[in-house]
C-alpha cells in the first residue's frame, strides 16, 4: 500500500499542530462554535447525541495490520473499546472527547493515518472496490488513482468550501463493486482502442432527499488529463452549485437542473480554457504511484486443495462460509475472504478492539498484513491461500467473526441511527437486528438479498439502493418505517420506489417476511429481487406488504 514519505509525514504533523491550536483556541473561547464547527468537521469530528464522534479516514478502504492495531488501541484508550466501519469505508468512534482529539490525531499520524476531510464541504474519502488489485475482472488496480486524487484533494485551497460535501468513487473492473453511480463524481477506468488508459466520468449521483444516479458526462478522458478534468468539474460546481438551500446544494441538483448535457458542456469549456499541460499527470508519477500497490510475493508452494475440500465435506458450517464469504482471486490457489461484521443480533459494522487485534494477527499470518474495508460494512482479507481457509474460519468463528452471510439477507447495511446520531429521525440498529433474527432461518432458501436501512433521509444506510430499503421517520413522536422496493447498487444501479404508507416498528420484520415470501413465489431461475421486481412490477409486492393479517 502507499507509504508516506518525508513530505507526507511533515504535512500530517503540521495538520495535527494546526488542529491542536484550533482546539486550544476553541476551549479558550477565542473561536465560537460557528467558527470552529467547519474546522473540526474538516478533521472528521462531529458532535452527536452522546458525545463527539470521530470519523477516521481509511483511504479507499485499505488498511494494514499496523494501522488496524492502532485503531484497536485508540478505541481502547480514548473510546469504549469498539468502532463502527462505515458505508464509505471509514471507521467511526462514537464516544470521543474533544479535548482528546489532538492526541488521537497525533497517534493516528504515527501510523500514517488521519481524519482529514471525512466531513465538511470538501472532498470526502475517495472510495473503491474492496477487491482492488486482486479481482479477476479488473483492468488494472484503481487504487493508485484513488491515492492520486486523495493527495490532490487534500486541503485543496480552492475547493475547501464547496456548496456541500463531495464524494468520489473509482472502479476498474467489469463489475462495479464500489457503487460508483451513487457518487457526486464517479470514475470507471477503461482502455480505449489504442489500449490507452482513461476514465469514463459520471457526475451528479447522490442519495438523501433527492436520490439520483450519476450520469456520464464524458465517455473517455485520457489518464493524463484526469486531475485537470476533475478540477474543471469542481470549479463549475464551486461557482454554480446552490448555496441558498442546504437540501439543494449537492452537485446532483446542479446536474439535474442544468441537465447532464449542459453541465458536461460547461465542464468541457472550463477544461479547454485551463492550462491542461501544466496540470497533466506525468507518466512517471502514475508509474511511481502504481509501484506502491503491487501484489505481494505470493508463496509458490502448491496449494493443498484436497485438504480444503475434505474440510468442506466434513463441516457444513465451514462449507457455508466458503460458499458465501470466499471469492475468486486472480492468482490461482488464492482467495479473497470477506469477514462478516453482521453477526445476527449484534450491531452490524461494529468491531471490538479484540476483534480488530485478531483480524490484524490473521492478516499478518495469512494475508500479507493487508485488510480492506467494504462499504457494506464488512472487512476483507485480500490474499489468503485456499489451504489456509479452514484455520482462518475456525479462528474467526471463535471470535464472533465467523458469520457466513455475505450478501445474504442478514448481511444488512445499517447506519447508526437514533441510538447514536443527532441527525436521525428513528432508530435503525434494533430494526436491523430484529429483521436478521426473524429471517435467519430462511436465509439459504432466499439466496442473495440486500436489505439497507437508514435512520433518516440523509441515507447513510443507502436505503434507496436496497432491494428492500427501509427509512426510519418520526410520525407524531412514533418511529415508523417507509419501505422502498427494487433498489440496487452496482452496474444496474436503481433507486428503490416507495411501496406505500409507512409501517410501525414492531410490524417491520413480518412485513419483510411477506415481501420475501412474495419474491420466493414469483422469482424465476437465477433472478435476484431487483430482476423479479422489474419483471413483475410493484403491484404483487404492495399487495403482499399491506395484506391484512
Amino acid at each position: 500500500m502507499y507509504r508516506y514519505d518525508d513530505f507526507d509525514h511533515r504535512f500530517i504533523d503540521e495538520r495535527v499542530a494546526q488542529y491542536r491550536d484550533q482546539v486550544r483556541r476553541r476551549l479558550a473561547g477565542q473561536l465560537s462554535e460557528d467558527e470552529f464547527r467547519p474546522l473540526r468537521l474538516m478533521n472528521g469530528l462531529y458532535l452527536q447525541l452522546h458525545a463527539y464522534m470521530l470519523r477516521i479516514a481509511i483511504p479507499y478502504g485499505t488498511l494494514d495490520s499496523t494501522k488496524l492495531r492502532k485503531l484497536a488501541h485508540i478505541t481502547r484508550k480514548y473510546d469504549r473499546g469498539y468502532g463502527h466501519f462505515t458505508t464509505r469505508q471509514n471507521l467511526q468512534l462514537h464516544w470521543i472527547k474533544l479535548e482528546d482529539t489532538p492526541d488521537i490525531l497525533a497517534e493516528l499520524a504515527s501510523v500514517e493515518m488521519h481524519a482529514i476531510q471525512t466531513s465538511g464541504n470538501s472532498f470526502r474519502n475517495t472510495t473503491t472496490d474492496p477487491l482492488a488489485g486482486v479481482a479477476a475482472d479488473e483492468i488494472e488496480d484503481p487504487r493508485p488513482y484513488a491515492e492520486i486524487i486523495r493527495q490532490w484533494a487534500t486541503l485543496h485551497p480552492e475547493f475547501s468550501f464547496l456548496p456541500r460535501k463531495f464524494k468520489i468513487a473509482v472502479s476498474a473492473s467489469k463489475e462495479d463493486r464500489a457503487a460508483v453511480k451513487m457518487h457526486d463524481l464517479g470514475l470507471y477506468l477503461h482502455k480505449n482502442e489504442q489500449g490507452e488508459v482513461g476514465f469514463e466520468v459520471l457526475a451528479g449521483g447522490g442519495l438523501g432527499r433527492t436520490p439520483l444516479l450519476a450520469q456520464t458526462i464524458r465517455k473517455f478522458i485520457p489518464r493524463r488529463d484526469l486531475l485537470s478534468y476533475i478540477e474543471a468539474c469542481l470549479r463549475v460546481y464551486n461557482q454554480y452549485g446552490r448555496r441558498d438551500n442546504l437540501y439543494k446544494s449537492r452537485i446532483k441538483i446542479l446536474v439535474q437542473s442544468l441537465g447532464a448535457k449542459k453541465y458536461a458542456e460547461e465542464v468541457e469549456a472550463e477544461w479547454l480554457a485551463s492550462d491542461r499541460d501544466a496540470a497533466a499527470l506525468p507518466e512517471t508519477y502514475v508509474a511511481e504511484m502504481q509501484s506502491a500497490f503491487t501484489l505481494p510475493d505470493y508463496d509458490k508452494r502448491p496449494v493443498d486443495e484436497a485438504a480444503l475440500q475434505k474440510a468442506i465435506a466434513g463441516n457444513p458450517a465451514f462449507a457455508r462460509w466458503v460458499k458465501h464469504n470466499v471469492h475468486a482471486h486472480k492468482v490461482p490457489g488464492h482467495a479473497v475472504v470477506t469477514i462478516s461484521l453482521k453477526e445476527v443480533g449484534k450491531t452490524g459494522g461494529d468491531c471490538s478492539a479484540e476483534q480488530m487485534d485478531l483480524v490484524a494477527d490473521l492478516a499478518d499470518e495469512l494475508s500479507f498484513g493487508e485488510v480492506r474495508v467494504a462499504y457494506e460494512q464488512n472487512l476483507v482479507l485480500p490474499h489468503v491461500r485456499r489451504d489456509a481457509l479452514f484455520e482462518l474460519w475456525q479462528r474467526l468463528d471463535a471470535a464472533g467473526l465467523g458469520s457466513s452471510n455475505i450478501n445474504q439477507i442478514t448481511d444488512i447495511i445499517c447506519c447508526p441511527g437514533m441510538d447514536y446520531c443527532s441527525l436521525a429521525t428513528a432508530r435503525s440498529i434494533p430494526v436491523a437486528q430484529r429483521i436478521a433474527e426473524h429471517m435467519a432461518a430462511k436465509e439459504d432458501l432466499i439466496g442473495a438479498f440486500n436489505i439497507k436501512i437508514s435512520g433518516c433521509i440523509n441515507a447513510c444506510g443507502h436505503h434507496h439502493l436496497g432491494h428492500i430499503g427501509i427509512l426510519g421517520v418520526d410520525k407524531n413522536g412514533e418511529e415508523v418505517y417507509q419501505i422502498t422496493l427494487g433498489g440496487d447498487a452496482g452496474n444496474d444501479a436503481a433507486i428503490g420506489t416507495i411501496a406505500g404508507p409507512s409501517v410501525k416498528s414492531d410490524e417491520v420484520p413480518a412485513a419483510i417476511d411477506r415481501l420475501v415470501d412474495a419474491y420466493l413465489k414469483l422469482r424465476q431461475e437465477g433472478e435476484r429481487f431487483p430482476e423479479t421486481y422489474r419483471r413483475v412490477g410493484q403491484a404483487p409486492f404492495k399487495e403482499a406488504l399491506y395484506a391484512p393479517r
Partner: protein
C-alpha cells in the same frame, strides 16, 4: 484594517466609492462591478489608481480583458463558508494573469487565510481580532502543500514526490 500576505498589518488607504457617490477627480478609488459597467469611460480617463469590487456571483471571465486596468480587485466572502471567491481568485491570477493586489473582504477569518493566500490573495480585510489573536501566524502553519503553484502565481502542477523510488 488590512493584513498583508507577509503578516504585517496596515491601514486601508483606498476610498471605496458607493454607487450613489460622484466619481472624484483624483485619489485611489474602488468601484462596484455595476459602476464599472456604467461609468467605464469616466473611470478609464482618471489618472489615479482604480480598484474593482467584484461580487462572488460574477464570473471573472466578465472582466477578462480589463484586469490590467485595476491596481486592486476586492473579492467577497459573504459568509466564510461561501467559497466562490477562491475560484475567482485562482482564475484571475492564472487564466487572466491579473498582477495587481487581490484582496479578500467579507467574513475573513484566521483559519481560511492560508487557503486564501494560496489561491492568490495578497491582502485581507480584518478586524481587531487579527491583532489580539495574532492571525499572521496562520500563514506559516504549513510549509508543504499537495497542490503546488510554480512561482506563487503561475499554473498549478501536482506535487512531484521526491523519494528514493523516483530521485
Amino acid at each position: 484594517m488590512l493584513l498583508a500576505e507577509d503578516g504585517t498589518l496596515g491601514v486601508d488607504d483606498w476610498h471605496h466609492l458607493a454607487d450613489e457617490e460622484p466619481i472624484p477627480a483624483s485619489g485611489a478609488i474602488t468601484v462596484s462591478f455595476a459602476r464599472w459597467q456604467t461609468d467605464e469611460a469616466i473611470l478609464h480617463a482618471r489618472a489615479d489608481k482604480l480598484g474593482l469590487r467584484l461580487p462572488n456571483t460574477i464570473a471573472p471571465q466578465e472582466i477578462a480583458g480589463d484586469v490590467s486596468r485595476f491596481a486592486l480587485i476586492v473579492l467577497n466572502f459573504p459568509k466564510f463558508t461561501d467559497g466562490r471567491a477562491y475560484s475567482q481568485a485562482r482564475l484571475l491570477r492564472t487564466r487572466f494573469a491579473y498582477k495587481g493586489e487581490l484582496r479578500a473582504a467579507g467574513e475573513v477569518l484566521r483559519d481560511q487565510l492560508l487557503f486564501m493566500r494560496r489561491c492568490g490573495f495578497n491582502s485581507f480585510v480584518v478586524g481587531e481580532r487579527a491583532i489580539k489573536e495574532n492571525w499572521a501566524k496562520a500563514f506559516s502553519e504549513f510549509d508543504v502543500f499537495y497542490q503546488q503553484p510554480t512561482d506563487g502565481q503561475g499554473p498549478w502542477v501536482m506535487r512531484q514526490r521526491l523519494s528514493p523510488r523516483n530521485p
